[in-house]
């Protein structure tokens, strides 16, 4: 009897690797650029093997020049290429900021559609791992407030692969937040389909059904929300947890349908509070779901501080499972 291949579970970073490898094979006009993505294969190993397979001209080890990395990618896109940009950490995206918000994001708009920008900027993001101020950021709000950019943040291997592939096929620039804490987290490993698939941008996913409150989030906070939901369950409440996955475009429909059922809304993310995306979603719910709400739509976020280094400090400023469970409880019993 022939040995039956054991289905293998794959982690988040393997899913990303597969996406890059497959899209580079599928699209001869795709180029990758970033610091240390070629010879080294990326700080976290995400691009391992790419340069070997596709050559140094399609997998470019760029100088430490984030603005030039973004800007040259704009030029390549203008001349027909699809570009994957890696930021070594998403924190360094600030060094290419002007090129992103003023050059790349607006290109399609200001040329009345003459040129689209199929560029994905991806990079390791997120706190809770002692990375301190410059290796912990979730700065998606800067880009959500800059028209012309799509923003994505997967929380599972399946979504990581499917969303990255979808982003790389999208004609628009996409900022792609990878949660480095999830890269190799065993508990979220899963089997991935053999065949080509994408997860379309703009579709949220209900991670847990419930009728008492809607808790929306993305990235690693999804797991905090699920843990809080488990906690609430012990108290006899059923929380619905929605993983937004794509922030722009946002799946408002799934959110409204959920709130129509639960009549409570809580939004959780780890970015700073003021002008963060949590507040934005809360404001949207005021607008589109107010009639369903039996309690104020609220948000739980990082405090308005940078992410400090020491564990005690970091924990203090970031949302915790307890924060979520407590606030959810307050809203359910409002």
């Amino acid at each position: 009897m022939a040995a039956v291949a054991q289905p293998t579970k794959k982690n988040y970073i393997t899913a990303l690797k597969e996406a890059l490898m497959e899209e580079m094979s599928r699209n001869n006009d795709m180029v990758c650029i970033g610091e240390d993505i070629g010879i080294l294969g990326s700080a976290f190993g995400t691009t391992e093997g790419l340069q070997e397979k596709f050559g140094a001209s399609r997998v470019i080890d760029a100088p430490i020049s984030e603005a030039a990395i973004v800007g040259t990618s704009v030029g390549m896109a203008l001349n027909g290429k699809t570009v994957m940009i890696e930021m070594q950490f998403i924190d360094f995206i600030s060094c290419g900021f002007d090129q992103i918000v003023n050059m790349m994001a607006t290109y399609h708009y200001r040329t009345a559609g003459d040129a689209s920008m199929p560029i994905v900027i991806r990079g390791p993001a997120g706190a809770y791992s002692g990375g301190a101020l410059y290796h912990s950021q979730m700065n998606e709000s800067w880009f959500l407030n800059s028209p012309g950019l799509k923003v994505v943040c997967p929380s599972t291997p399946y979504d990581a692969k499917g969303l990255l592939k979808a982003a790389l096929r999208d004609p628009n620039p996409v900022i792609f937040y990878e949660i480095k804490n999830l890269y190799r987290l065993p508990k979220i490993e899963e089997e991935l389909p053999e065949e080509d698939y994408i997860v379309p941008l703009g579709e949220a996913k209900i991670r847990r059904e419930g009728k008492d409150i809607t808790i929306a989030s993305y990235g690693q906070n999804v797991y905090h929300c699920l843990d809080a939901a488990a906690h609430l369950e012990k108290q006899g409440y059923e929380a619905e947890v929605i993983d937004l996955r794509s922030l722009n475009p946002l799946d408002e429909k799934t959110l409204v349908e959920s709130v129509a059922k639960t009549n409570r809304f809580l939004m959780v993310n780890e970015a700073p509070k003021t002008c963060g995306f949590a507040g934005d979603v809360v404001a949207r719910m005021s607008d589109i779901a107010f009639e369903y709400l039996d309690a104020p739509p609220l948000r739980i976020t990082r405090m308005d501080t940078p992410v400090p280094w020491a564990k005690s400090l970091e924990t203090h400023v970031l949302p915790s499972v307890k924060d979520i469970a407590d606030t959810a409880h307050k809203l359910i019993t409002y």
């Binding site: 030029g75 001349n79 050059m103």
Partner: protein, 426 residues
């Protein structure tokens, strides 16, 4: 094949003396505003580095004037000379016409006049191939229609914008390439290989590097010409882009239009050396200086760099010395007459590119003195010049564009929320 590989290696990473700059030219290129003894309204001489006096030579020169034979211009015919002259008139007339329209309140936005700087645009574009790329900025409006104009002034399929498109843009009409979404020089064309700039100075040089990187990946041999004011060379992204281009030996030719003022800031507060071409030295790439008033000198220098770039030897910088005739923008005309000394302004305008090219054509016997005297646009302010100062075909050409623009409609309101995102999926 006359060049050997070692030739290439030998000249590849020091500032090159691949062009000559006669001593007399050096003097012509020096305007007083870079010098501390003549500082306009600069209040604190201490802030000015004393050693600007000890100017570096413009380019390395072998001390004698070059013979024409080795210059790119050697291949130009009489017709080319006369065409170049006509293009200088065209660029000048376009600018003057806009100045007049603006003064009459018919235009919205700011005119960053290219008056007195036309030789840089005409001379640099003349020898390009149709599929080469360009990246003009605020002061380069004529570049958009001058690109590939050799394929025929009336050939709308050439690899440049039409005069109609350009006028429609200035008049803020929906028939413009931007559909009146972004202003003045913030246009381009993917099909015609013109990069669309933003306001952010030096911000398109990385994109310029990117288009030719992609072209090389496709096996092409296009070059890209980027235009920049001298003040803009202080931007970080200038450095990042040129460094990238140098590392990858990309065919990026960066033209520095040194008109000696960056808005209200003179050369020595932007850069520690008198010659902005020296920026090249930090990247080990050729840094040339051209006489920005002499269309043929610009042509020669650009063509040398184009050849160098197309041969895969990498990027280069050409500083074209010139002088800004008026204010930074038309709103600044009155102030600029105050913050810049009058003698400086006069000296800066004294070497009019039209006059210089006329003189050369007469000297060569390509133009009779009588014909040369027919159209006296040179050194005339927009308020002084009239249509009679220009060849009728030039006036006609621009008129056609203006008429098209005037008759075109403004965009409809709902377009304001269109095209934020592209819809199709690749």
């Amino acid at each position: 094949m006359s060049r050997s590989v070692s030739d290439g290696l030998a000249i590849s990473h020091r500032p090159l003396a691949i062009s000559l700059c006669p001593e007399t030219l050096n003097q012509a290129l020096t305007f007083p505003c870079g010098k501390p003894e003549n500082q306009g309204t600069i209040l604190n001489p201490q802030a000015i580095s004393g050693d600007i006096l000890a100017s570096t030579p413009a380019t390395k020169t072998n001390g004698k004037a070059d013979s024409e034979g080795s210059l790119a211009r050697a291949h130009l015919t009489k017709d080319d000379y006369l065409e170049l002259l006509k293009q200088l008139y065209l660029a000048r007339y376009f600018d003057i016409r806009l100045a007049k329209e603006k003064r009459r309140g018919r235009l919205t936005g700011t005119l960053y006049s290219s008056h007195n700087q036309e030789a840089i645009l005409v001379g640099s574009l003349y020898g390009l191939r149709p599929n080469d790329w360009i990246s003009p900025i605020h002061r380069d409006m004529p570049a958009f229609f001058l690109k590939d104009i050799r394929a025929g002034w009336d050939n709308n399929d050439r690899m440049g914008l039409t005069i109609e498109e350009l006028c429609a843009q200035v008049w803020c009409k929906v028939t413009s390439p931007s559909r009146a979404r972004d202003n003045w020089s913030h246009i381009g064309s993917k099909a015609k290989h013109i990069i669309h700039s933003t306001s952010m100075l030096a911000g398109t040089i990385p994109a310029a590097a990117g288009v030719v990187y992609a072209d090389r990946l496709n096996g092409g041999d296009a070059v890209v010409l980027t235009y920049n004011g001298e003040g803009s060379t202080a931007q970080g992204v200038f450095h990042e882009a040129i460094n990238f281009a140098a590392v990858h030996k990309l065919p990026v030719i960066t033209i520095i239009e040194n008109n000696h003022w960056a808005y209200g800031t003179p050369n020595h507060l932007e850069y520690s050396l008198p010659d902005f071409a020296r920026r090249a030295d930090g990247y080990g790439i050729p840094g040339l200086i051209a006489d920005g008033q002499d269309v043929l000198d610009v042509y020669d220098k650009v063509m040398e760099c184009v050849e160098y770039a197309r041969a895969g030897k990498g990027p280069s910088i050409i500083e074209c010395k010139t002088y800004r005739s008026y204010g930074h923008g038309d709103h600044d005309d009155d102030r600029a007459a105050k913050y810049r000394p009058q003698e400086e302004i006069e000296m800066g305008r004294s070497r009019d590119p039209i006059a210089i090219m006329k003189g050369i054509c007469v000297e060569k016997g390509y133009l009779s003195q009588a014909d040369a005297d027919k159209y006296k646009a040179e050194r005339k302010h927009a308020t002084e010049a009239s249509d009679e100062d220009f060849p009728p075909e030039v006036v006609e050409y621009v008129k056609r564009g203006v008429e098209f623009a005037v008759q075109s409609p403004a965009p409809e309101a709902h377009e304001g929320s269109m095209w934020v995102f592209a819809e199709e999926t690749k």
